[in-house]
């Protein structure tokens, strides 16, 4: 039972089931009844319980996000948002879910049946795998795998495969264009995202998410702003959210890769997308907002939840504000902007860590100042001097002239 020892919540439940000798110190109420020889039963029961809790928490989180997003965007757009079903419209997503379930399930004649069915499943399942490894509090996490950062980067890129599969299998031209765009975006944005995450790993000296949280005396968003900005933009692109929502671009491709999906298959895409937003926000909180850390008069879980909601709100804010970029502009932004910025970030961090492998408080402050100088200078260079050319379209602010009488 070695690996489970680091997860408090797992062990807590396990020890209330198993009569294992080492468990007696953890037990609060002495209700354990499964003998030590049958520990695999208590192990399975505990695992099933936590899987049940995590999956349902994720689903309820999606419902809450749908409500929150619609409500918040309503506020942004000077209207009310959902307000008919239940208090403050809280039951609207429930009604939506019921409606989606009872829709007719259509399978287009031209579709590739197997892949067509598989794609929505592949959209949802990988995202579930992110939730157990995220440390929600000092003791609240299910498992702490030693390569958490790599695991997260690998898992989050699977949904683009699902988008390509959906686009291909639909046999619809809108869908295939959406799918191809998704792959192009994945290839471009995975790189700045990975390099930015490398910056986090360099500072933490550990690939596990708990290690990343523990290392953040100063939250990484303040300590390495350049990495934060590139990671935030890259994950927005990875999530296919506005302003990078070209894969489902409503005004161009109707609904992109999910044009031909209906009923619960469509529902799964919807679910997967919103769940990915929640998962990515949790990752951003862990990487850049020091996870559960915060003044101890508030429980660590509350700190995590607050930051989590804050990051989700940033994504919603993006969606309410920005128009969409064009595909070639998105590519230029990734390769001519974010890629270089994330490299600069990693280079500077690596140099500083090489000089001070184990920084003290004052050294950390000096490093922060240097990072901010690098951030401001490089963002000025890329944002002001190079940006008119970054997109291949020399933009300049313009005004009108007036006709002469």
């Amino acid at each position: 039972m070695g690996p489970i020892r680091d997860s408090f919540i797992f062990e807590f439940l396990y020890c209330h089931l198993s009569l294992e000798a080492s468990c007696s110190s953890v037990r609060i109420i002495n209700i354990a009844f499964i003998p030590e020889s049958l520990s695999w039963i208590s192990f399975s029961l505990t695992a099933f319980f936590w899987i049940f809790v995590f999956v349902n928490a994720a689903l309820i989180g999606v419902l809450a996000l749908i409500w929150g997003e619609r409500r918040l965007i309503g506020k942004f757009q000077a209207r009310l948002g959902p307000n008919r079903w239940g208090p403050l419209g809280l039951f609207t997503p429930v009604a939506d879910a019921i409606k989606v379930m009872f829709k007719e399930d259509i399978e287009p004649t031209l579709s590739d049946k197997l892949i067509y069915v598989l794609a929505p499943i592949l959209m949802v399942v990988p995202v579930f795998m992110i939730f157990p490894i995220i440390p929600y509090g000092t003791k609240t996490f299910l498992t702490n795998i030693s390569v958490g950062v790599v695991f997260v980067l690998a898992i989050t890129s699977i949904n683009s495969l699902s988008v390509l599969m959906a686009g291909w299998a639909s046999g619809n031209r809108f869908a295939i264009i959406g799918g191809i765009r998704a792959v192009a975006m994945l290839l471009s944005y995975e790189i700045p995202m990975g390099i930015s995450a490398a910056g986090v790993v360099i500072v933490a000296g550990s690939l596990s998410l708990s290690g990343v949280v523990n290392s953040q005396v100063i939250p990484n968003a303040i300590f390495q702003p350049l990495g934060f900005i590139t990671f935030l933009i890259a994950s927005t692109a990875e999530l296919n959210r506005s302003p990078f929502d070209i894969t489902e671009a409503e005004s161009e491709l109707v609904a992109g890769y999910m044009t031909d999906y209906s009923s619960m298959k469509f529902g799964l895409f919807y679910l997967g997308e919103f769940m990915a937003t929640i998962a990515s926000s949790a990752i951003i909180v862990t990487f850049y907002f020091s996870g559960w850390r915060g003044p101890s008069f508030i429980p660590s879980e509350i700190w995590f939840l607050t930051k989590w909601i804050g990051v989700i709100a940033i994504f919603i804010w993006f969606r309410a504000t920005f128009p969409r970029l064009r595909i070639d502009q998105i590519m230029s932004l990734a390769w001519k902007g974010l890629f270089e910025l994330s490299l600069i970030n990693v280079l500077v961090l690596a140099l500083m860590i090489a000089i001070w492998p184990d920084p003290t408080g004052i050294q950390l402050l000096i490093m922060t100042v240097i990072n901010w100088i690098v951030f401001l200078v490089s963002v000025y260079i890329f944002g002001k001097i190079l940006s008119p050319n970054l997109t291949g379209n020399k933009i300049k602010k313009r005004s009108v002239i007036y006709g002469l009488d």
């Binding site: 965007i73 264009i177 005004s251 504000t321 128009p323 595909i327 933009i395 602010k397 009108v400 002239i401």
Partner: protein
Amino acid sequence: MSTELVTMNIGPIHPSTHGVFRMRVTFDGETIIDAEPIIGYLHRGSEKLAEERTYTQVVTLTDRMDYTASMTNNQAYILSVEKLSGITPSERGVWLRMIAAELQRIAAHSVAIGFLINDLGAWHTPLLYLLREREKILELFEMMCGARITNSYLRPGGVFMDAPDEFWPSLNRFLDEMPNRLDDIENLLTDNEIILARTQNVAILDKNDAINASITGPMLRASGIDWDLRHRNPYDYYEKISFRRPLGTVGDNNDRYLIRLHEIRESLKIVEQCLDLIEPGPVQPEEVPFLVRPPIGESYVPIEAPKGELGFYLVSDGGISPFRCHVRAPSLINLTLLRDMVIGYKIADLFVTFGSIDVNMGEVDR
């Protein structure tokens, strides 16, 4: 690797075809090779129907052509009827319909800008801000004539009823607020780098091409040609009004957006001047008969509608209904250059360009 051109039918059912427009587009990857517009899905035979109705009844048909700009449609038709039958309109009626027309221009341009930004992929936020302002105009229309969209407010000789007393304070409040709202919109949109990158140097319309294709309205002015019928060929009392005509410098999508935004500001100034000049009096001369019977003849009075030169060509055989009615619809004629404008650009630019032309399918197909 062998590649293939893809031909797609975009529309008539599509989120950003502004109604029932259809394009058969050939793409090479993301680049447009060919775009063939197909129209006629909203044809209701308005011109033919006009032959069966009396001159006053036709007003309701004109409402339904460009349904984002009913007042200016009414105005174009009524001016043509007045010229045909020699009716001199009453002064207050003309001022009222000028106020109505300029408010309508603000509303129509708000819709045009809002949906253009929506085609750019903004999640409805700028659109809803602009629709909120349009809503206030529709409320003003409701006070004037009881209807919001299909107004049928104008009659030969003026308008059918005077605006109520509570209309004027509401209008003044709107005129006070609107410039600030426009500043908000400009802060949000005009210098937004994404919008600049998406719209600048895209679908440039050359001056000569624009003239040769008889493009009119904001689209022509965006190409840098100073042609506004309110200034060149003043109808109603526009010669008593002074206003500036914003002109574009490049003729791309960004200019077409900027022109509309600045025209809203100019329209606000025109309404303010109308408010200074309007005087009490009858809104329709009493000698206008219930059934207008123009003498045998024909007439055409072009006006500057929000989308371009709009005019009704009417032929009278001396009866109570027009013998022939033909509409010069700016939407239809402005749409003719779409194909030439978008070839070589990306899929996304197609919809932005279509949005920047600002067509209304009700007017294209009539």
